[in-house]
């Protein structure tokens, strides 16, 4: 191999790439658009914060003299908080028709209709309450019902406990008068009758006293980590179509420019051209990935960890190089069927974007149907991108990354070797054409 020829190819390719408006669009503008849209539309700055639902209330229990009535419920709705944020923003309606209209039009996340006699019934029997579940936005649609159900559950428990305590107060007063002293219940551990009744009634109201503690890993719920995930999604997506373009147009671009014969007539070999173009492709993909990381971290707020002393982080960089080589190799295989620069570029973009969307690179695997999950599980580019995420976003160690590294190394070697065979075949075809 001739280093001066390889260097000449690298310099030439980089100059031509970064002087082309189309290349700049695909390398910088396209991933930037996706990343910014994700950061400010799909994962907006409030992501991870408690959500406030907008709800409507129609209160037909106006004028109730019960200590707990429709007005009390509206007050509770207004004062309910979760992690310091208000749970509901309440709008009171005169009747159900305009409230339902607003729910249907997506102006409210839900609504309550408090029937007449609600206060009376809640004290002396069972009260009825109508709850309507709506959706005001993509985010609230997924959680409005669970928030409303959770709230009603909590309200039920609270009222039950109030009723139990009130009832126990009377039981204590009357048991003093009418029950024998020192009466114990043997099957309940010889507890006094009064203690037994208290525990029994609390158990009726709330059989399980659940305590929830928030111990979710921050990496999975913080907006910055979510954006870190998407930053590598943008790298994976861009790397797929750009790498495929680089591989699939390696020979055809020179053939169409008419420069192939002149290159082959020089002392440089087709291997020099392959190595030079692959290296320039890797540099281009590296620059593109760096730009995406900068865009992800600075305007968008993604969290990406980088510690030069951490071997896992260097392994992630090697994964990036390997997946780039692999995708360039697949691009070279595509050159067997795409015989013009235009068709090769179009095919590469379509295939690259499609794979990014269906193979778990842009959308999380958990969102995908079963057959796509299978594709994501067997697609080496997804392994590599997930490997980079695990190291640079979630802090995986080098040892944890090693199996992924070995699998991606094997995949990159195989696809690039097949790509070389395809490249040589394509060159032979173009030379005799």
């Amino acid at each position: 191999m001739m280093w001066s020829a390889i260097k000449a190819f690298i310099v030439k390719e980089l100059k031509l790439t970064f002087r082309s408006k189309a290349s700049i669009f695909w390398i910088i503008a396209w991933p930037a658009i996706w990343l910014l849209m994700t950061a400010y539309v799909f994962v907006p700055p409030a992501t991870g914060q408690p959500m406030t639902l907008k709800v409507g209330v129609v209160n037909y229990d106006v004028g109730s003299t019960s200590p707990f009535n429709g007005t009390t419920l509206i007050q509770i709705l207004n004062e309910s908080e979760y992690k310091g944020a208000k749970l509901f923003q309440v709008k009171v309606y005169e009747n159900e028709t305009p409230m339902l209209e607003d729910i249907r039009r997506g102006r409210l996340d839900g609504g309550f209709t408090i029937p007449e006699g609600f206060g009376e019934n809640i004290i002396f029997g069972q009260a009825r309450l109508k709850v309507y579940v709506g959706a005001r936005s993509l985010q609230s649609a997924q959680i409005a019902e669970s928030i409303l159900r959770g709230f009603i559950q909590g309200l039920n428990n609270g009222i039950s406990m109030r009723k139990v305590n009130e009832t126990l107060r009377y039981i204590e007063i009357y048991s003093e008068k009418y029950m024998p002293k020192n009466l114990t219940i043997p099957v309940a551990g010889n507890r006094s009758w009064l203690d037994f009744m208290r525990d029994w009634m609390i158990g009726l109201a709330s059989p399980i006293n659940v305590s929830f503690q928030d111990v979710k890993p921050k990496a999975f719920v913080e907006r910055s980590s979510i954006l870190g995930w998407y930053t590598f999604g943008a790298i994976g997506m861009s790397l797929l179509y750009s790498g495929l373009i680089i591989g699939s147009t390696m020979a055809v671009r020179e053939k169409e420019a008419g420069t192939l014969r002149r290159i082959l007539a020089s002392p440089a070999t087709s291997t020099d051209m392959l190595v030079g173009k692959t290296l320039s492709g890797l540099i281009t993909l590296g620059i593109m990935s760096a730009i995406i990381v900068i865009l992800g971290v600075y305007p968008c707020g993604a969290k990406i960890i980088w510690n030069p002393m951490n071997p896992a982080h260097w392994l992630a960089i090697i994964l990036l190089i390997l997946v780039s080589i692999m995708v360039i190799g697949i691009g070279m295989i595509l050159s067997l069927i795409a015989r013009t620069t235009e068709s090769a570029s179009n095919l590469s973009v379509v295939l690259g974007l499609m794979l990014a969307f269906i193979a778990g690179i842009w959308f999380p695997k958990s969102w995908l149907p079963t057959w796509m999950k299978f594709l994501a599980d067997i697609f080496p580019a997804t392994w590599a991108i997930d490997g980079m995420r695990s190291a640079l976003v979630y802090g995986a160690t080098a040892a944890e990354l090693m199996p992924t590294f070995l699998k991606v190394l094997a995949a990159a070697t195989i696809s690039y070797l097949i790509g070389i065979i395809a490249y040589k075949k394509t060159l032979r075809r173009y030379v005799v054409a």
Binding site: M2, S4, A5, K7, A8, F9, V11, K12, K15, L16, R19, S20, A257, G258, T259, R261, R262, I263, L264, A265, S266, P267, A268, T269, D272, V431, V432
Partner: protein, 331 residues
């Protein structure tokens, strides 16, 4: 299957005199059913300009591609200074200038030169200086830093020519170097080619312009349908295959029935060779003094108007016509 054998330095089976730069022996190449080059053999002496003259499709470009090491022959031998033409080291001795001015439009003239310099293994600070010198020689010095997409066709052609010289080749393969150029630029390219010959370069010039081959070549191989049909110096070819003289008649108005006119003139022509094109009649004759008045009276009798009549010596075009029965540039 035919076995391809390439020359090796010191191989006694190869006749390689000190003055022979290129040897092509019994080389053939076919693409599918089409035979592009059919058993071609010739030798090119060091320091000479060797013309390959033939119409489009004669096999000149395919032959040059094989000499340049781009294509592998199906059979036969090609050796440059006794070395295999396909060897990358041998390719360093050859400068190939393709027919089209193929350069990268989004690079500057200097960047194009630097790229090809790299492909020839040149590196270091002096390379840029060498590239600038070549651009100056081609009159492109002041445009060196401009992107090639702003160049005219002629400038691109000159840049392409400069690129051919970047590796200081001993053997230059020029494929139709002046096609599409206006006469002034063509003349300047001819001068450059002659200057390179003076510097001791060996040049193979593929062209379908007979004036170009005639003016520049020391020896010419006339190619048709993939074969060399004749070889020799232009004068030798004209003496061997050309008529004694040629009568060119410029008609003042086109003949109403050109076929009938040709038939009437044929009896006076050598071997019946008469051509009519673009209002001109060209007749090969053996005895111009006797037949010229007869041809004029025959044309007058037919009512054809005459503007001028010239008796000239034959050209390589006439040789080609004699050998193939067709003109170099049909039209």
């Amino acid at each position: 299957m035919l076995k391809v054998k390439y020359g090796v330095a010191g191989d006694p089976s190869i006749e390689m005199g000190v003055d022979v730069c290129l040897m092509v022996r019994d080389v053939s190449k076919r693409f599918g059913d089409r035979v592009a080059v059919d058993g071609v053999s010739f030798k090119v002496h060091r320091g000479e300009i060797y013309g390959l003259l033939g119409p489009n499709g004669a096999g000149k470009t395919t032959l040059l591609s094989m000499i340049a090491g781009i294509l592998e022959p199906d059979s036969g031998e090609i050796s440059i200074d006794g070395l295999n033409a396909l060897d990358p080291k041998t390719r360093g001795r050859v400068g190939y200038c393709p027919q089209e001015p193929i350069v990268y439009d989004n690079l500057t003239g200097l960047e194009n030169m630097m790229f090809y310099a790299g492909l020839h293994g040149l590196s270091g600070g002096h390379v840029k200086q060498r590239c600038r010198e070549l651009l100056d020689q081609m009159g492109l010095g002041e445009y060196a830093s401009r992107k090639v997409k702003t160049y005219s066709g002629g400038m691109k052609k000159r840049l392409s020519f400069a690129i051919t010289l970047i590796g200081e080749p001993e053997l230059l393969l020029l494929d139709e170097p002046t096609t599409g150029m206006d006469p002034r630029i063509r003349r300047s390219v001819w001068e450059s080619i002659l200057r390179l010959k003076e510097e001791g370069k060996t040049i193979i010039l593929a062209t379908h312009y007979m004036e170009e081959a005639d003016e520049l070549s020391d020896r010419v191989a006339i190619m048709d349908l993939g074969k060399v049909v004749a070889e020799g110096s232009p004068e030798d070819l004209k003496n061997r295959y050309g008529p004694k003289a040629v009568i060119d008649v410029e008609l003042s108005k086109p003949a109403t029935d050109p076929e009938a006119m040709i038939e009437e003139v044929k009896p006076y022509a050598s071997e019946g060779r008469v051509m009519c094109r673009n209002g001109e009649l060209r007749v090969h004759v053996d005895d111009p003094d006797i037949v010229a008045p007869k041809i004029v009276s025959e044309l007058v009798r037919m009512g054809v108007g005459l503007k001028t009549l010239k008796i000239t010596t034959p050209t390589l075009e006439d040789v080609f016509l004699r050998l193939t029965g067709r003109r170099l540039i049909e039209g």
